[in-house]
């Protein structure tokens, strides 16, 4: 059988030396009102210029999960995002919530990326800036693209194990292990796993309700210029692996969703008559038994 392209994992050795955990939280700038957007007529991509960006709401749950681990076991939480230059503002709000550092990965060559190219850029930034990380914690999905691709893709680029829908975690600093509880909504079960760190997780969107953003911390971040920018001058990623050129998927066409034609019969009036009218019609349709 053909060789796999999966690299083997090097277990974490650095935890337990008094520094606590290094947790990376990649976050996305989501477009707030997903029904009022403009699409580029040529690439069909979302036009992000001039659109106010906000932190993807589920990434706040992910950040909360990371901050709770930091509160319990010590260490640092670092957020990073591949976003246009205007992304600085929402990264400041991650510091406001309690992150120690934030990085904006921004460069023209990164524009037009699909999830393969975005995950490559994010994974390589993590490998370059924080090779000693213990956990990468991500949101379950984003509200403006809802793919839930990125966490698995980052794990694949880094050749690491991963787990989705995590709700809780417990770290053993001495052993370098983490116990993760996750919720599989469609099966109605909680599963508990134990991993040798490093590991990549995505956090179940209805767990870990996020703490408030401290305005004074956010202002500190702004005044102290705490959000650092990283461009491809530092990362030196091959331009064919990032942005539009590093993206195998294309949006070939867009169209308005065509609704299924409906009868649109409406009854106004006495509730008893309404009920009779409905039951008669549903019986005629054959969807309830007479």
């Amino acid at each position: 059988m053909g060789a796999t392209v999966i690299s083997q994992v090097t277990p974490t050795q650095s935890v337990g030396k008094g520094e606590g955990l290094t947790i990376i939280v990649p976050v996305k700038a989501a477009v707030p009102n997903i029904t009022a957007v403009r699409l580029d007529p040529v690439t069909h991509n979302l036009v992000r210029e001039g659109v106010p960006l906000m932190l993807n709401p589920y990434d706040r749950n992910a950040l909360e999960f990371a901050l709770r681990l930091k509160d319990r076991y010590g260490g640092r939480v670092i957020t990073l995002s591949m976003a246009p230059p205007s992304g600085k503002d929402f990264l400041e709000s991650t510091i406001g919530m309690g992150a120690d550092e934030a990085y904006l990965i921004t460069d023209r060559v990164f524009a037009g990326a699909d999830t393969l190219a975005t995950s490559y850029t994010v994974a390589m930034t993590i490998r370059k800036l924080f090779p000693e990380f213990n956990l990468v914690v991500m949101g379950e999905e984003t509200t403006d693209s809802t793919t839930a691709h990125m966490p698995a893709q980052v794990a694949s680029w880094l050749g690491l194990p991963y787990l989705y829908y995590v709700v809780d975690g417990e770290v053993n600093l001495k052993e370098g292990t983490v116990r993760l509880t996750r919720y599989l909504e469609d099966e109605g079960v909680f599963e508990e796993y134990e991993f040798q760190m490093p590991v990549i997780v995505s956090v179940y969107k209805d767990s870990n309700p996020p703490r408030e953003i401290s305005l004074s911390r956010k202002i500190q971040a702004r005044l102290g210029n705490l959000v650092k920018s990283v461009t491809n001058n530092e990362l030196k990623l091959d331009q064919y692996c990032v942005g539009l050129r590093g993206s195998p998927t294309i949006v070939a066409k867009i169209e308005d969703a065509k609704p299924i034609p409906r009868k649109k019969q409406v009854f106004k009036g006495d509730p008893k008559e309404a009920a009779k009218w409905l039951i008669d019609n549903l019986t005629k349709e054959g969807v309830i038994k007479s």
Binding site: V5, Q153, F190, F195, P248, T249
Partner: protein, 352 residues
């Protein structure tokens, strides 16, 4: 073979070497997931357009006769790996098994049911193969000339459909939510090939499953929303848990189940696994009754394929009436009470 410059992390692929439609068939406790069976049906359609076969892929331990099931639903062939090391599901290990099989057989398309596990698995497989993937497609087609998979997915809130393609890479990966396509009939007279593969270089699990605990559910006597033929959906307009109780009564009287909008599950009036919509479940029952549901696009997204749609809402301008076959303007309590009385009378009438 394409010689244009590509990312050095990507293997060169010759599109012409890749043939056949694959479905990853997910199973749990000896039962195949409906979403996977539904994809076998769709895969048949795609395969016949380009004259290739449908292959089902299965991964696990002690699979036994389960490996024959995909044939009965329309697969021509099953390729499976049965290994003690796969007794426990580990995302990166299972994904690596699929990657190995794809590298050996070179299918042009691999489809995944977008169950929670499917959503977890598929992007790792796609990424490790350095190819594209499209999540939550609502339709699939194949271009007979280019053999590109036309992956249709709603985007930016659901009112725009995007057609996504992976023109230069193979295989092409896509996931589809359960219940977007119908389940094909089971036909035990169908014949097909069953091939067992052995994989020697599984990645280290680097972890283990410690425990599985079912969530205790208060309303477990009602079927899950994605499995019911009749769904009564509660919206914010039902006012609270008491209102939901009335809907449960209606659901029971007509042999259905209850679901709700995000506002209702967020408020805790129903468990989240009953949320219908873009970020919840997709349902396509024969009858959907929305009660106190305004008809936000994110909700509509998860129920618009229902055969008959009924809306009960006190606001005559509620958007849901635009999507409904039968609408009743009025206070839901009065209407539901009247419905329950009528249904009771009918039952009593029949019994006498």
């Amino acid at each position: 073979m394409s010689t244009s410059r590509i990312c050095p992390e990507w293997p060169q692929v010759d599109k012409n070497e890749y043939r056949g439609i694959w479905v990853y068939v997910e199973h749990q406790n000896g039962v195949i997931k409906d979403g996977s069976l539904q994809l076998i049906g769709k895969a048949r359609e795609l395969a016949s357009k380009v004259n290739v076969g449908v292959t089902a892929v299965m991964v696990g331990h002690k699979l036994g006769d389960l490996v024959k099931e995909p044939i009965y639903y329309g697969a021509d062939r099953v390729v499976y790996v049965d290994d003690e090391a796969l007794a426990v599901y580990m995302p990166h290990v299972y994904a690596s098994v699929i990657v190995n099989l794809v590298n050996k057989y070179k299918p042009e398309v691999v489809l995944f049911a977008a169950t929670k596990r499917g959503r977890e698995l598929a992007p790792y497989v796609a990424n490790t193969l350095r190819t594209g993937i499209t999540a939550d497609c609502t339709d699939l087609d194949i271009d007979v000339k280019t053999r590109d998979l036309d992956q249709v997915r709603p985007t930016y809130g659901g009112n725009i459909l995007a057609h996504i393609r992976t023109p230069t890479r193979r295989p092409q990966l896509a996931s589809v939510r359960p219940n977007v396509f119908p389940t094909p009939p089971r036909d035990t007279s169908r014949k097909g090939e069953v091939i067992r593969e052995v994989i020697n270089n599984l990645p280290k699990p680097n972890g283990s499953l410690i425990s599985i605990k079912p969530v205790t559910k208060g309303d477990s006597d009602l079927p899950p929303v994605e499995k019911a033929d009749i769904v009564v959906a509660a919206g914010r307009g039902v006012g609270g848990p008491e209102g939901v109780k009335l809907l449960v009564e209606l659901a029971k009287a007509i042999g259905g189940t209850v679901g709700g909008t995000k506002k209702v599950t967020d408020a805790g009036w129903l468990p989240v696994d009953r949320q219908i919509g873009q970020t919840g479940k997709t349902v396509r029952p024969t009858l959907y009754i929305g009660v106190g549901v305004s008809g936000a696009i994110q909700h509509i997204f998860g129920m618009k394929e229902s055969k008959i749609i009924v809306a009960i809402n006190s606001d005559p301008n509620a958007p849901i009436f635009e999507y409904a076959d039968y609408g009743i303007v009025g206070d839901y309590r009065q209407v539901i009470q009247a419905l329950l009385e009528l249904l009771n009378q009918r039952r009593a009438g029949k019994g006498s």
